[in-house]
Protein backbone atom coordinates (compact mmCIF):
# COMPACT_ATOMS: atom_id res chain seq x y z
CA UNK A 1 0.00 0.00 0.00
CA UNK A 2 1.27 3.42 -0.93
CA UNK A 3 1.87 5.90 1.82
CA UNK A 4 -0.97 8.03 0.53
CA UNK A 5 -3.41 5.20 0.99
CA UNK A 6 -1.92 4.41 4.36
CA UNK A 7 -2.35 7.97 5.56
CA UNK A 8 -5.96 7.99 4.39
CA UNK A 9 -6.63 4.79 6.29
CA UNK A 10 -5.01 6.21 9.43
CA UNK A 11 -7.10 9.38 9.18
CA UNK A 12 -10.24 7.34 8.55
CA UNK A 13 -9.55 5.10 11.53
CA UNK A 14 -9.18 8.12 13.85
CA UNK A 15 -12.36 9.65 12.50
CA UNK A 16 -14.24 6.42 13.19
CA UNK A 17 -12.86 6.37 16.74
CA UNK A 18 -13.94 9.96 17.23
CA UNK A 19 -17.46 9.22 16.01
CA UNK A 20 -17.70 6.34 18.47
CA UNK A 21 -16.56 8.62 21.32
CA UNK A 22 -19.07 11.26 20.35
CA UNK A 23 -21.90 8.75 20.47
CA UNK A 24 -20.83 7.69 23.95
CA UNK A 25 -20.58 11.31 25.12
CA UNK A 26 -24.00 12.08 23.77
CA UNK A 27 -25.64 9.40 25.88
CA UNK A 28 -26.93 10.92 29.10
CA UNK A 29 -27.54 8.98 32.29
CA UNK A 30 -30.51 10.13 34.34
CA UNK A 31 -31.55 9.11 37.82
CA UNK A 32 -35.34 8.90 38.03
CA UNK A 33 -36.50 9.91 41.48
CA UNK A 34 -39.85 10.28 43.20
CA UNK A 35 -40.71 13.31 45.25
CA UNK A 36 -44.15 13.33 46.87
CA UNK A 37 -45.62 10.85 44.33
CA UNK A 38 -44.24 12.80 41.35
CA UNK A 39 -41.40 11.63 39.16
CA UNK A 40 -38.42 13.80 38.32
CA UNK A 41 -35.09 13.12 36.65
CA UNK A 42 -31.67 14.40 37.55
CA UNK A 43 -28.40 14.00 35.66
CA UNK A 44 -26.73 11.01 37.30
CA UNK A 45 -23.35 12.73 37.35
CA UNK A 46 -24.84 15.41 39.65
CA UNK A 47 -25.44 12.78 42.35
CA UNK A 48 -22.65 11.57 44.62
CA UNK A 49 -24.52 9.38 47.06
CA UNK A 50 -27.94 8.33 48.37
CA UNK A 51 -28.42 8.41 52.15
CA UNK A 52 -31.43 7.17 54.03
CA UNK A 53 -32.78 7.11 57.57
CA UNK A 54 -31.00 10.07 59.14
CA UNK A 55 -32.40 13.14 60.91
CA UNK A 56 -32.63 16.68 59.59
CA UNK A 57 -31.54 19.35 62.05
CA UNK A 58 -33.43 22.62 61.69
CA UNK A 59 -31.35 25.73 60.92
CA UNK A 60 -32.79 29.24 61.28
CA UNK A 61 -32.25 32.26 58.98
CA UNK A 62 -32.74 30.23 55.80
CA UNK A 63 -35.72 30.03 53.41
CA UNK A 64 -38.39 27.41 54.27
CA UNK A 65 -37.23 25.08 51.50
CA UNK A 66 -33.90 24.68 53.30
CA UNK A 67 -35.10 22.13 55.82
CA UNK A 68 -31.84 22.18 57.78
CA UNK A 69 -28.58 20.24 57.95
CA UNK A 70 -27.92 16.53 57.74
CA UNK A 71 -24.87 14.71 58.97
CA UNK A 72 -22.98 13.19 56.04
CA UNK A 73 -19.93 11.41 57.46
CA UNK A 74 -19.60 14.12 60.11
CA UNK A 75 -19.98 17.05 57.69
CA UNK A 76 -23.07 19.31 57.51
CA UNK A 77 -25.04 19.35 54.24
CA UNK A 78 -27.90 21.79 53.54
CA UNK A 79 -31.11 19.96 52.65
CA UNK A 80 -33.32 21.38 49.88
CA UNK A 81 -36.99 20.32 49.97
CA UNK A 82 -38.39 20.85 46.47
CA UNK A 83 -42.00 20.21 47.56
CA UNK A 84 -41.84 23.42 49.58
CA UNK A 85 -41.01 25.27 46.35
CA UNK A 86 -43.39 23.38 44.05
CA UNK A 87 -46.33 22.62 46.34
CA UNK A 88 -45.77 24.76 49.45
CA UNK A 89 -45.78 21.77 51.75
CA UNK A 90 -43.06 19.86 53.56
CA UNK A 91 -42.03 16.41 52.37
CA UNK A 92 -42.11 13.76 55.08
CA UNK A 93 -39.08 11.64 54.22
CA UNK A 94 -35.59 10.77 55.37
CA UNK A 95 -34.01 9.90 52.02
CA UNK A 96 -31.45 12.28 50.55
CA UNK A 97 -29.54 12.66 47.32
CA UNK A 98 -26.11 14.03 48.11
CA UNK A 99 -25.25 16.30 45.21
CA UNK A 100 -21.84 16.17 43.62
CA UNK A 101 -20.68 19.77 43.83
CA UNK A 102 -17.34 21.41 44.46
CA UNK A 103 -18.86 24.75 45.50
CA UNK A 104 -21.34 23.67 48.18
CA UNK A 105 -22.49 20.83 50.40
CA UNK A 106 -26.04 20.17 49.24
CA UNK A 107 -28.60 17.39 49.49
CA UNK A 108 -32.06 16.98 47.95
CA UNK A 109 -34.84 15.56 50.09
CA UNK A 110 -36.62 12.89 48.02
CA UNK A 111 -39.16 10.11 48.54
CA UNK A 112 -37.37 7.39 46.58
CA UNK A 113 -34.92 6.51 43.81
CA UNK A 114 -36.74 4.58 41.08
CA UNK A 115 -34.19 3.76 38.38
CA UNK A 116 -31.28 4.97 36.30
CA UNK A 117 -31.80 5.31 32.56
CA UNK A 118 -29.41 5.99 29.70
CA UNK A 119 -30.78 8.08 26.85
CA UNK A 120 -29.32 9.89 23.84
CA UNK A 121 -28.93 13.60 24.48
CA UNK A 122 -31.38 14.24 21.64
CA UNK A 123 -34.10 12.58 23.75
CA UNK A 124 -34.06 15.53 26.13
CA UNK A 125 -36.93 17.78 25.08
CA UNK A 126 -35.57 21.13 26.06
CA UNK A 127 -37.82 23.84 27.44
CA UNK A 128 -37.39 26.72 25.06
CA UNK A 129 -39.65 29.38 26.51
CA UNK A 130 -38.55 29.59 30.10
CA UNK A 131 -40.49 31.88 32.38
CA UNK A 132 -38.14 33.97 34.46
CA UNK A 133 -37.97 32.76 38.05
CA UNK A 134 -39.59 29.41 37.34
CA UNK A 135 -37.03 27.72 35.16
CA UNK A 136 -36.10 24.83 37.42
CA UNK A 137 -35.88 22.26 34.62
CA UNK A 138 -33.57 21.56 31.68
CA UNK A 139 -36.49 19.96 29.88
CA UNK A 140 -38.19 16.60 29.94
CA UNK A 141 -37.52 13.00 28.94
CA UNK A 142 -39.82 10.07 28.29
CA UNK A 143 -37.75 6.93 28.90
CA UNK A 144 -40.50 4.46 28.11
CA UNK A 145 -42.16 6.59 25.49
CA UNK A 146 -45.16 7.34 27.68
CA UNK A 147 -44.97 9.81 30.55
CA UNK A 148 -42.86 12.97 30.39
CA UNK A 149 -40.46 13.34 33.29
CA UNK A 150 -39.00 16.75 34.04
CA UNK A 151 -35.22 16.96 34.40
CA UNK A 152 -34.14 19.10 37.35
CA UNK A 153 -31.67 21.91 36.80
CA UNK A 154 -29.89 22.07 40.18
CA UNK A 155 -28.09 25.28 39.25
CA UNK A 156 -31.41 27.14 39.19
CA UNK A 157 -32.18 26.18 42.78
CA UNK A 158 -28.82 27.55 43.84
CA UNK A 159 -29.54 30.79 42.03
CA UNK A 160 -32.89 30.97 43.85
CA UNK A 161 -31.24 30.25 47.21
CA UNK A 162 -28.67 32.97 46.66
CA UNK A 163 -31.39 35.48 45.76
CA UNK A 164 -33.61 34.48 48.68
CA UNK A 165 -30.81 34.63 51.24
CA UNK A 166 -30.02 38.14 50.10
CA UNK A 167 -33.58 39.13 50.90
CA UNK A 168 -33.86 37.49 54.32
Amino acid sequence: MLNKGLLEKITESHNKKKTKEEIVIRLNRYMIIEINKKKYAIHAQDVREIISGISIFFVPFTPPYIRGFINRHGEPYSVIDLTVIFEREKLDSSTFLILSREDDQLALLISDVLEIVKLPESDLHRITSKQEGENYFFGSISPKGKEEIFVLDVEQFLTKLEADLGGL
Partner: protein, 184 residues
Amino acid sequence: MEDYDVLSEEQDFLILSYEEIDFFVNRDQFSSSTSLDDVKKIKSSISYINQAFKYNGQNILLFDCDRFLQDLYNCSNTTSSRLCLLMKIHNFSDVGKPLVKRLLGANHSISDEWLGLIISSNSEISKISINEIYLSPLGVREKLNNHGLYGCRFPSTEKIQFFIDLEMILNNVIKGNIGENINC
Protein backbone atom coordinates in the same frame (compact mmCIF):
# COMPACT_ATOMS: atom_id res chain seq x y z
CA MET B 1 3.90 18.05 61.30
CA GLU B 2 2.84 21.64 61.94
CA ASP B 3 -0.40 21.10 59.97
CA TYR B 4 -1.16 18.05 62.05
CA ASP B 5 -0.69 20.06 65.25
CA VAL B 6 -3.16 22.71 64.08
CA LEU B 7 -5.76 20.10 63.18
CA SER B 8 -5.50 18.26 66.48
CA GLU B 9 -5.51 21.47 68.53
CA GLU B 10 -8.16 21.61 71.25
CA GLN B 11 -10.01 24.65 72.49
CA ASP B 12 -12.17 25.23 75.55
CA PHE B 13 -15.86 25.73 74.74
CA LEU B 14 -18.94 26.15 76.86
CA ILE B 15 -21.52 23.56 75.80
CA LEU B 16 -25.17 24.49 76.33
CA SER B 17 -27.31 21.36 76.24
CA TYR B 18 -30.94 21.15 75.15
CA GLU B 19 -33.13 18.15 74.47
CA GLU B 20 -32.64 17.88 70.74
CA ILE B 21 -29.54 19.97 70.09
CA ASP B 22 -26.57 21.56 71.83
CA PHE B 23 -24.74 24.81 71.30
CA PHE B 24 -21.11 25.56 71.96
CA VAL B 25 -19.47 28.90 72.62
CA ASN B 26 -15.82 29.92 72.65
CA ARG B 27 -14.79 30.03 76.33
CA ASP B 28 -12.91 33.30 75.70
CA GLN B 29 -16.19 35.12 74.95
CA PHE B 30 -17.17 35.46 78.61
CA SER B 31 -15.37 36.17 81.87
CA SER B 32 -17.20 34.11 84.46
CA SER B 33 -20.55 32.69 85.46
CA THR B 34 -22.72 33.26 88.50
CA SER B 35 -26.07 32.27 89.94
CA LEU B 36 -29.09 34.41 89.08
CA ASP B 37 -30.50 36.13 92.15
CA ASP B 38 -32.64 39.18 92.60
CA VAL B 39 -33.67 39.44 88.94
CA LYS B 40 -35.95 42.37 88.15
CA LYS B 41 -37.96 43.28 85.08
CA ILE B 42 -36.99 46.56 83.45
CA LYS B 43 -38.71 48.66 80.82
CA SER B 44 -37.29 47.82 77.40
CA SER B 45 -38.42 47.69 73.81
CA ILE B 46 -35.80 45.11 72.85
CA SER B 47 -36.93 41.48 72.85
CA TYR B 48 -35.02 39.26 75.26
CA ILE B 49 -33.32 42.24 76.95
CA ASN B 50 -35.79 43.30 79.62
CA GLN B 51 -34.30 42.15 82.92
CA ALA B 52 -31.47 43.16 85.24
CA PHE B 53 -29.90 41.69 88.35
CA LYS B 54 -27.63 42.81 91.16
CA TYR B 55 -24.03 41.59 91.11
CA ASN B 56 -21.31 42.97 93.41
CA GLY B 57 -23.44 46.04 94.09
CA GLN B 58 -23.98 46.81 90.38
CA ASN B 59 -27.13 46.51 88.30
CA ILE B 60 -26.27 44.25 85.36
CA LEU B 61 -28.45 44.22 82.25
CA LEU B 62 -29.47 40.70 81.20
CA PHE B 63 -29.92 39.16 77.76
CA ASP B 64 -32.12 36.07 77.96
CA CYS B 65 -29.98 33.92 75.68
CA ASP B 66 -31.66 30.71 76.92
CA ARG B 67 -35.13 31.85 75.83
CA PHE B 68 -33.74 33.25 72.57
CA LEU B 69 -32.11 29.94 71.59
CA GLN B 70 -35.21 27.94 72.50
CA ASP B 71 -37.43 30.22 70.39
CA LEU B 72 -35.12 30.42 67.42
CA TYR B 73 -34.07 26.77 67.18
CA ASN B 74 -37.38 25.25 68.36
CA CYS B 75 -35.59 23.36 71.09
CA SER B 76 -36.59 22.72 74.67
CA ASN B 77 -34.73 23.01 77.90
CA THR B 78 -33.96 19.98 80.00
CA THR B 79 -33.96 22.00 83.21
CA SER B 80 -35.70 25.08 84.52
CA SER B 81 -32.71 26.35 86.49
CA ARG B 82 -30.62 29.00 84.86
CA LEU B 83 -27.25 30.70 85.25
CA CYS B 84 -25.71 33.97 84.17
CA LEU B 85 -22.61 34.40 82.02
CA LEU B 86 -20.82 37.67 82.60
CA MET B 87 -19.35 39.40 79.57
CA LYS B 88 -16.98 42.33 79.97
CA ILE B 89 -17.94 45.10 77.54
CA HIS B 90 -14.25 46.02 77.23
CA ASN B 91 -13.64 42.66 75.50
CA PHE B 92 -16.28 43.22 72.82
CA SER B 93 -15.17 43.79 69.21
CA ASP B 94 -14.95 47.25 67.66
CA VAL B 95 -18.29 46.56 65.94
CA GLY B 96 -20.14 45.28 68.99
CA LYS B 97 -18.73 47.61 71.63
CA PRO B 98 -20.38 50.88 70.51
CA LEU B 99 -23.70 49.12 69.99
CA VAL B 100 -23.76 47.67 73.51
CA LYS B 101 -22.35 50.87 75.06
CA ARG B 102 -25.18 52.85 73.49
CA LEU B 103 -27.71 50.39 74.89
CA LEU B 104 -26.23 50.44 78.38
CA GLY B 105 -25.67 54.20 78.34
CA ALA B 106 -29.41 54.79 77.88
CA ASN B 107 -30.06 53.72 81.47
CA HIS B 108 -27.83 55.37 84.11
CA SER B 109 -28.66 52.85 86.84
CA ILE B 110 -27.23 50.01 84.72
CA SER B 111 -23.54 49.04 84.73
CA ASP B 112 -21.70 50.01 81.55
CA GLU B 113 -18.91 47.60 82.38
CA TRP B 114 -20.67 44.23 82.36
CA LEU B 115 -23.47 42.49 80.54
CA GLY B 116 -25.16 39.30 81.73
CA LEU B 117 -26.40 36.44 79.56
CA ILE B 118 -28.99 34.08 80.97
CA ILE B 119 -28.19 30.50 79.99
CA SER B 120 -29.48 27.07 80.90
CA SER B 121 -27.73 25.56 83.90
CA ASN B 122 -27.36 22.41 81.83
CA SER B 123 -23.99 23.56 80.58
CA GLU B 124 -20.36 22.66 81.00
CA ILE B 125 -16.95 23.70 79.79
CA SER B 126 -15.37 21.07 77.60
CA LYS B 127 -12.43 20.71 75.21
CA ILE B 128 -13.27 20.22 71.54
CA SER B 129 -10.77 19.42 68.77
CA ILE B 130 -10.74 22.06 66.06
CA ASN B 131 -10.86 19.35 63.40
CA GLU B 132 -14.24 18.12 64.69
CA ILE B 133 -15.85 21.47 63.89
CA TYR B 134 -17.22 22.13 60.40
CA LEU B 135 -18.18 25.50 59.00
CA SER B 136 -21.70 25.78 57.56
CA PRO B 137 -22.19 24.69 53.91
CA LEU B 138 -20.97 27.41 51.55
CA GLY B 139 -24.34 28.43 50.10
CA VAL B 140 -25.73 29.46 53.49
CA ARG B 141 -22.47 30.24 55.31
CA GLU B 142 -22.35 34.01 54.95
CA LYS B 143 -25.97 34.41 56.02
CA LEU B 144 -25.56 32.20 59.06
CA ASN B 145 -22.22 33.78 60.03
CA ASN B 146 -23.89 37.19 60.04
CA HIS B 147 -26.39 35.84 62.57
CA GLY B 148 -23.73 34.30 64.80
CA LEU B 149 -24.01 30.69 63.65
CA TYR B 150 -20.60 29.61 62.37
CA GLY B 151 -20.91 25.88 61.97
CA CYS B 152 -21.45 22.66 63.83
CA ARG B 153 -20.17 19.27 64.88
CA PHE B 154 -21.92 15.94 65.20
CA PRO B 155 -20.96 14.19 68.44
CA SER B 156 -23.27 11.31 67.44
CA THR B 157 -25.59 10.49 64.52
CA GLU B 158 -28.63 11.77 66.43
CA LYS B 159 -27.15 14.96 67.84
CA ILE B 160 -25.93 18.24 66.42
CA GLN B 161 -23.98 20.91 68.25
CA PHE B 162 -24.11 24.40 66.75
CA PHE B 163 -21.08 26.68 67.07
CA ILE B 164 -22.50 30.10 67.99
CA ASP B 165 -21.04 33.55 68.61
CA LEU B 166 -22.64 35.24 71.63
CA GLU B 167 -21.50 38.74 70.70
CA MET B 168 -22.80 38.46 67.14
CA ILE B 169 -26.15 37.13 68.40
CA LEU B 170 -26.38 39.96 70.89
CA ASN B 171 -25.60 42.56 68.22
CA ASN B 172 -28.44 41.23 66.05
CA VAL B 173 -30.86 41.18 68.97
CA ILE B 174 -30.01 44.80 69.82
CA LYS B 175 -30.51 45.79 66.19
CA GLY B 176 -33.83 43.87 66.14
CA ASN B 177 -32.44 41.66 63.40
CA ILE B 178 -33.47 38.30 64.82
CA GLY B 179 -34.99 36.53 61.84
CA GLU B 180 -38.37 35.33 60.65
CA ASN B 181 -38.25 31.97 62.41
CA ILE B 182 -38.57 33.42 65.84
CA ASN B 183 -41.68 32.31 67.71
CA CYS B 184 -42.37 35.29 69.91
